[in-house]
């Protein structure tokens, strides 16, 4: 029961003041641009002032939740549709007599490094099936490692002589090593071949690197003529007759991984694999991960529109979505129980 006619005087006076100022402002205004300038200097630019009212909050939360859950479901579905086979082979491929001293085994170049494993395909795998090698506990993201390369040399070869960033793998007999640096020096050198029954599965090892790398970053006329000629051999050798732009293994390897556990593309199998197919894999287990306790895995995986198998994304979306909806419900409850009263 409030009176209606009580507020006249004060509001009238403020209105008067406002009108006065407006009148003054009109005098000042001349053009449209000056109007905007005027509004800016008088801090009276038109503005929207969203306020987190209960309704807007609840509906925002609800809508976001509704939006997130389907995305989560889709992602999860995509991820689940991916078939992935992971085979760790680093310890299995060491002969029994060397199991206690794996480092000696791997360092001894006289011992053959052949090894074979069998895999059973659990589900139908549609081509292309991607072959990855996965290294764990391998720090490609170490500062010294990351910096140990020369992008200019990779592109221009010997025209570019400054290889100071590649220390200690920068030169050999006065000539810069091409490609220089620790990354290329430690190139992964295990090889795989696959047989279904007795048929060898063809592995496509082309187009495994980014196109931009092949076309622009690695020179077409740069040949690794003196690579791995030094006293200390790191990883794989390169064919000195193939230009760097075609050395896709190297290009993939040179893309340093962000995490100590990473996969790199080895090749693609361009045939479908049926469920229960048994695949035999022949390894050349050359690469030394034994010194630092790293692991080597072979991964066969299909890919969905979302990439490889990764349930986390879908789960996260679903979790957040449900979270939002629950929050919305909680706020509805709170709001019903305790409606917002502005007047105190």
């Amino acid at each position: 029961m409030e009176g209606d006619g009580e507020s006249v005087s004060s509001s009238a006076s403020t209105a008067l003041v406002a009108a006065d100022v407006d009148a003054r402002s009109i005098l000042v205004l001349r053009g449209g641009r000056s109007k905007a300038m005027y509004q800016f200097t008088q801090q009276s630019l038109p503005a929207c002032k969203p306020v987190l009212t209960p309704t807007s909050v609840i509906s925002t939360l609800f809508l976001m939740g509704i939006f997130c859950i389907p995305i989560g479901l889709l992602s999860l579905h995509a991820s689940l549709s991916v078939v992935e086979i992971v085979e760790r082979y680093d310890s299995e491929c060491v002969p029994h007599q060397f199991r206690l001293n794996k480092v000696a085994y791997i360092k001894d170049s006289l011992i053959p490094k052949n090894c074979s494993r069998y895999l059973k395909v659990p589900k139908y795998m549609k081509a292309p099936i991607y072959i990855y090698y996965q290294l764990d506990n391998y720090y490609q993201n170490h500062r010294r490692y990351v910096k140990s390369r020369s992008d200019k040399q990779l592109r221009y070869g010997l025209q570019y002589n400054d290889t100071s960033s590649c220390i200690p793998e920068e030169s050999n007999d006065g000539l810069p090593i091409v490609p220089c640096g620790l990354i290329s020096w430690s190139l992964f050198n295990d090889t795989y071949s696959f047989f279904r029954g007795t048929d060898e599965l063809r592995i496509n090892r082309k187009n495994i690197a980014w196109k931009s790398d092949r076309d622009h970053k690695f020179g077409k006329h740069v040949f690794p003529f003196n690579f791995q000629n030094g006293t200390l051999i790191g990883g794989a050798m390169l064919d000195p007759n193939v230009p760097l732009s075609d050395q896709e293994d190297l290009i993939v390897w040179m893309r340093t991984a962000a995490l100590p556990s990473f996969r790199k593309l080895y090749g693609k199998i361009e045939e479908d694999l049926e469920a229960n197919d048994v695949i035999s894999i022949y390894f050349l287990n050359n690469y030394n991960t034994y010194s630092f306790g790293g692991r080597k895995k072979l991964v066969l995986s299909t890919a969905s529109w979302l990439g490889g198998r990764n349930n986390f994304l879908g789960m996260a979306y679903i979790a957040i979505g449900s979270c939002l909806i629950v929050l919305a419900l909680v706020f509805i409850l709170l709001h019903v129980k305790n409606p917002r009263i502005i007047i105190t």
Partner: protein, 1232 residues
């Protein structure tokens, strides 16, 4: 020619009138003992008058009159400015970082470290340079003022001030400033006196008398200076304004000099046509210049806390650096040898040498400090500077703070302390020129017990209006509820009471009535037709008074008005009306008023005063002559002034005017006819802050006069200490048995809008102290006029008692003051329970004692408890001291506002100094941080701009810290995954652009455009201002809250991205993401997150805000595309990254969305909960405004406004409230 000489004669008389003074102490011989000091160290200056060339060579080479207030010159600018810059801890830190980046230790290129530092330091130095340049221009302005200087052979030529040198003889004309400290040689008056206004030195508006030596009196014409030569021996330059020791050797005589002969720079010649003087102290030696202090650079509270915040962040930085380097050392020591592919043993890169883990620890530590430098961003300082400059620009441009009369706008003279405006708790205000215009107006008078000139004051009017509204409301609620029964009765009573207070209650009729009454008082805003006369009453004006009943007393009243004064008439061009000049401005208003009523005082000679009187019987004006027999001067002890005159018929009258209690004590028994009515009127006038004075007269028999006069003459002739006593006694004898005629009320005119402004500021929770050099009565009058004082307030006066003062013992004086303070304190503590408002009025002398270190705490404790504090008779130095002590004792933000040079100390000392750019000198403005053309702009400056700036800067700093911590920590987490090798996850360019382009502009939009509530609402809800006073927007709680939020965000960004992208394929073609891809993806998430976070903070989206926020995000993608198009040797990992790799991966976009939602969720939930359950005032208002409830439910809106006011005891509204309480109380009593 004849006319000129006539004028000159008049002048002489004018000067004589002052010298007539019977109580002026002689000052000339006081300094005699000091003469022996001359020649001693400190008193060795020699000035050869009229031989300035002697002072251009050694040994008497003195500086020229060039005065410089600049901080730097061309030579010293670079080193000094650089030194100033690197005194800031943050800059030093950045310099260190830049230095370390040179020997390739840092993860970034040296250029990316040095460029921003150079930019920041450069901008700050440029600002310094510009400010110094404007000071230089100001100096130039002063230095190139012109003055007439004696060249040779008696000819005077114009020279600029800076060309003056010691020994020059100058001629200064009326209303000119003195170019340097001068020795007065002679003036246009024959007796060598001149009048000087020292407003700029001590703020006093009354004129000071200076007098030349008798010996130099003859030098009163240009030609006299042809052969003039003299030598002055005097003290060395010093800042003491009130002392001077020296002597003059002239014409083979030696004459001691005293301050009476010294004209100080920065004071002004008044009422004297010209003076001759010789320059003693020039330029930097002048006393006024020596007195000025360089304005200290001020830093705001927020900025000071920002320093601590920087320390906190630095601690965080050191902590994570230590973790990082320890981690690095441990890893190196234990495992590094196994990583054959790193070949760490062949150390080319010494920080990672496994055989020297300790060295490695330190080197990695340094590197980490630089790598995580993003926690302490240099760009924060750039952004703050930019925002502050823009804020200052907006303050300057505000049309509502533009004074059309003077054509001046508010000017933020420094942009450093904008946000401090939002945190002010104490205002120390000057009176004259700040609150008042230094202009008196005749407002009301009470003659024969009848009051003229309007009866109702604004307070009564407002009270009656409000009560009418209340009555209206009660009436509406009559039907229905029983509880209103009482109020209905009250309403009835109030109607019955209508006669007690005209127009108090009674609805429409009363409003109408009061409006009529109101019209009688001319609106205070309107300029009255006659300056000094703001009086309108039909009963007196236009000769209407002659129809009154008791014309005789009325005539006597007007005669007192026209005769009892020391003024002289001045012809005013063509106007028929005369203008007047007098010792005090009140007297001028009396004379003007008397003229309006028909008693024009038109001429004064040595002993005769001429009046043009209106003859009531005929209505014709008659010229009458009154012989001035004696004049008993006004002084602060007597508080009265009398003249004894005889009219043409030989009747002798004593006309007396004076303070009420003085006059009441001296009335004859039959002279008290009007006493009761007059007393009532007086209290009304005083309540309105008018300055009152009583008029009385008596007729003296000739015999009585003769006998008294012999006594008086004898007293006057006495030499020695008893003289004063005798005179006092003689005056006492004649000034009694008076007949009271009535009272007059003069208004010390307030500046426009002052009461309203004070009212608003009080409601906003600000305390206002009045510091004035004026005497107590004047100060209190203004206190009442501004509603700082109220009738029902308990007043505590802190005055030095006579005994204590005379005892001259420090101890006794202190005891006296201390006991006064203690007693008052006890009473206030008691009174506070009963809610009795209290006021403290302190006298300058008492203040001097009270501010001594031992007592000052007790004094301030008392002062802070009082609702209002008025300090009178305070010197400029005391003002500054009060400002400092209040600032230190209370720890509250203090604002000092003043207009004169005497306020400079206070203005510089306070946290914020505000100068009124009025008519008087520029010193206050020059020293101030903000200058206002009008006092009332302070309301908008503080409540609107201060509030906004404070909130903007606080929000901006918090957000800035948030974004950098969130960003910086992701780098740290990456270290954990990369064996603490010190690698950076992001491309160098991303890192550089983060603070430069991609996140900086929205911050600036936030700092410039954000408004929590609109300006109108700020003014309607002054209580919002208290958010700044309590510093809730930049409290440690908030700061740590935001650090927590930043940490959560960084964790969310990093973990979500890492978990999703490792190690499976990124796209359908089976390709995996490498370091560059993951870095870019994570960086995208950071950019989205921080920009969306700012969108959550902003409550006021203008199109600029939108463009800058969303534009920043867009910018990132544009940058990525462009960067990817660069040749690979420049773009490295970023080559074709968006187009070829991540942009084509749906995962990238999906993850970005997810990360943004996850990171912002905690803050979002927090703010919902905070808003819903613990809303802050501004948020409630936002909600009301948003829902348009203020339009639909107006009463609620108004009630909210009422409720939001801080309960205060000062200000107009408080007075109205008190009045209403008082009236209601009375009603209740009548009812019983």
């Amino acid at each position: 020619m004849v006319k000129a000489s006539g004028k000159r004669k008049q002048r002489i008389k004018w000067s004589k009138l002052y010298t007539f003074s019977c109580l002026n102490p002689r000052t000339t011989d006081n300094d005699a003992p000091n003469q022996q000091l001359l020649g001693q160290p400190g008193f060795s200056r020699v000035v050869f008058c009229n031989q300035p060339e002697l002072h251009k060579i050694k040994p008497q080479k003195y500086p020229s009159n060039y005065v410089s207030t600049t901080k730097y010159n061309f030579m010293t600018f670079l080193p000094r400015a650089l030194f100033e810059q690197f005194r800031r801890v943050a800059n030093l830190y950045f310099l260190l970082g830049a230095a370390l980046s040179i020997p390739k230790l840092a993860p970034f290129s040296p250029a990316s470290m040095i460029t921003p530092l150079v930019f920041v330091v450069g901008i700050s130095m440029l600002k310094e340079a510009i400010e110094d340049w404007s000071r230089f221009l100001q100096d130039m302005d002063v230095n190139s003022r012109k003055v007439k200087v004696h060249s040779r052979n008696g000819s005077f030529v114009e020279k600029t001030w800076k060309e003056l040198s010691v020994g020059d003889v100058v001629k200064v004309n009326k209303n000119e400033n003195f170019p340097s400290d001068l020795l007065l040689l002679s003036s246009s008056y024959e007796d060598g006196v001149c009048y000087v206004e020292t407003m700029n030195l001590d703020g006093e508006t009354n004129l000071k008398l200076k007098r030349s030596l008798e010996a130099t009196l003859s030098l009163d014409d240009d030609v006299e200076y042809t052969k003039f030569q003299a030598t002055i021996h005097c003290e060395d330059p010093n800042p003491n304004l009130y002392s001077f020791v020296g002597n003059l050797e002239f014409n083979n005589g030696t004459y001691p000099l005293s301050p009476t002969q010294i004209l100080l720079r920065d004071s002004k010649l008044r009422n004297t046509e010209y003076v001759y003087g010789v320059v003693i102290f020039s330029g930097p030696d002048a006393k006024a210049v020596r007195n000025s202090t360089r304005s200290p650079s001020k830093r705001s509270r927020v900025e000071r806390r920002l320093d601590y915040l920087i320390y906190v962040l630095f601690l965080l930085l050191v902590m994570i650096s230590v973790v990082n380097s320890i981690g690095s050392a441990l890893v190196l020591k234990s495992e590094a040898a196994m990583w054959w592919y790193l070949r760490l043993q062949e150390n080319a890169d010494s920080p990672l040498n496994p055989s020297k883990p300790v060295t490695s620890f330190f080197l990695q530590f340094v590197r980490s400090l630089i790598l995580y430098g993003y926690l302490i961003p240099i760009s924060l300082y750039v952004s703050i500077e930019v925002v502050k400059v823009l804020q200052a620009m907006l303050i300057n441009k505000d049309m509502r703070m533009y004074d059309e009369l003077s054509g001046k706008a508010v000017e933020a003279r420094t942009s450093n302390i904008n946000e401090e405006l939002g945190q002010v708790e104490m205002i120390l205000s000057d009176k004259t020129g700040t609150l008042t215009c230094n202009q008196m107006e005749f407002r009301k008078c009470s003659i024969e017990g009848i009051s003229y000139g309007g009866e109702i004051n604004e307070v009564d009017l407002a009270a009656s209006r409000r009560m009418n509204v209340d009555v209206e409301r009660y009436r509406i609620s009559i039907d229905g509820s029983d509880s209103t029964g009482e109020s209905i009765e009250m309403f009835e009573y109030s109607v019955a009471e209508a006669d007690a207070k005209q127009a108090v209650l009674g609805c429409d009729h009363a409003i109408e009535n009061s409006d009529i009454e109101h019209r009688r008082i001319p609106a205070s805003g309107k300029e009255p037709n006659i300056k000094g006369f703001n009086f309108r009453d039909d009963r007196l004006m236009d000769k209407m008074w002659i129809h009154g009943s008791n014309v005789h007393d009325m005539i006597m009243f007007f005669r007192v008005m026209a005769l009892c004064h020391t003024g002289i008439p001045v012809e005013d061009g063509n106007s028929k009306r005369l203008k007047y000049e007098a010792e005090s401005p009140e007297e001028v208003t009396f004379l003007i008023a008397a003229q309006e009523f028909g008693f024009k005082f038109c001429q004064r000679t040595q002993s005769v005063m001429f009046l043009q009187e209106l003859e009531p019987s005929s209505g014709i004006e008659v010229k009458r002559e009154y012989k001035l027999l004696n004049l008993l001067e006004f002084n602060s002890a007597r508080k009265r002034m009398s003249v004894i005159v005889s009219n043409e018929a030989g009747e002798i009258f004593l006309f007396c005017k004076g303070a009420d209690n003085i006059i009441f004590d001296r009335l004859a028994d039959n002279g008290r006819i009007y006493q009761q009515a007059t007393t009532a009127h007086l209290s009304n006038y005083a309540e309105d802050g008018l300055r009152t004075m009583l008029f009385a007269y008596k007729k003296i028999e000739v015999v009585e006069y003769e006998s008294w006069n012999t006594l008086f003459t004898k007293a006057k002739a006495t030499v020695g200490t008893e003289r004063e006593e005798l005179l006092e006694h003689a005056s006492e004898m004649i000034e009694k048995y008076l007949f009271l005629l009535g009272a007059v009320a003069v208004e010390d005119k307030l500046q426009k809008g002052v009461p309203e402004c004070i009212d608003k500021l009080a409601q906003a929770g600000l305390k206002i102290w009045l510091l004035t050099g004026d005497k107590r009565e004047t100060a209190m009058n203004i206190g009442f006029a501004c509603s700082l004082l109220r009738h029902d307030m308990k007043q505590f006066h802190l005055v030095l008692s006579k005994e204590a003062e005379s005892s001259h013992q420090l101890k006794a004086v202190e005891e006296d003051i201390l006991s006064q303070i203690r007693n008052s304190y006890q009473e206030i503590v008691k009174g506070n329970k009963k809610d009795v408002p209290s006021a403290l009025i302190v006298d300058g002398k008492a203040m001097e004692v009270a501010l001594r270190s031992e007592i000052s705490n007790q004094f301030l404790q008392l002062a802070v408890m009082c609702d209002s504090v008025i300090c009178c008779r305070v010197s400029p130095k005391q003002k500054a001291l009060i400002a400092r002590l209040v600032k230190e004792y209370t720890g509250k933000t203090t604002l000092a506002i003043g207009d004169g040079a005497n306020d400079v100390g206070m203005i510089q000392e306070a946290d914020i100094g505000v100068g009124i750019s009025g008519m008087e000198g520029m010193q206050a403005v020059m020293a101030s941080d903000f200058s206002l053309p009008q006092f009332y702009f302070l309301e908008r400056l503080l409540i609107v701009h201060g509030h906004w700036c404070y909130k903007r800067i606080s929000k901006m700093i918090l957000y800035f810290m948030y974004k950098n911590v969130a960003f910086g920590l992701t780098l740290f987490y990456n270290e954990i995954y990369s064996n603490f090798s010190g690698d950076d996850l992001y491309d160098d360019w991303y890192m550089v652009l983060f603070n430069v382009l991609l996140t900086s502009l929205p911050v600036i939009a936030l700092g410039v455009l954000e408004q929590d509530v609109s300006a109108d609402v700020c003014l309607q809800f002054p209580a919002l201002y208290q958010q700044g006073q309590r510093n809730i927007c930049f409290s440690w709680k908030r700061i740590f809250g935001w650090i927590l939020n930043a940490t959560l965000s960084s964790v969310a960004i990093f973990t979500v991205t890492i978990y999703i992208f490792s190690p499976a394929a990124l796209r359908q073609d089976g390709k995996v993401a490498d370091l560059a891809h993951i870095g870019t993806i994570m960086y995208t998430c950071v950019i989205w997150t921080v920009n969306c976070q700012i969108a959550l903070i902003v409550t006021h989206f203008t199109w600029i805000t939108h463009v800058l926020i969303w534009g920043s995000i867009l910018c990132w993608y544009i940058f990525l595309v462009l960067y990817g198009m660069l040749p690979p040797e420049h773009s490295q990992g970023g080559f074709h990254i968006l187009i070829e790799a991540i942009g084509t991966a749906p995962m990238y976009w999906i993850v970005t969305f997810l990360v943004v939602v996850v990171t912002l969720l905690p803050y979002f939930i927090f703010s919902i909960i905070q808003r819903s359950f613990y809303p802050m005032d501004d948020q409630v208002i936002q909600e009301i405004k948003y829902g348009r409830t203020d339009v639909s439910n107006k009463p609620m809106w108004l009630r909210e406004q009422q409720n939001s006011r801080k309960r205060t005891q000062i200000g107009f509204s408080a007075r109205v409230d008190a009045k209403i309480r008082h009236l209601k109380e009375r009603l209740r009593r009548t009812k019983k």
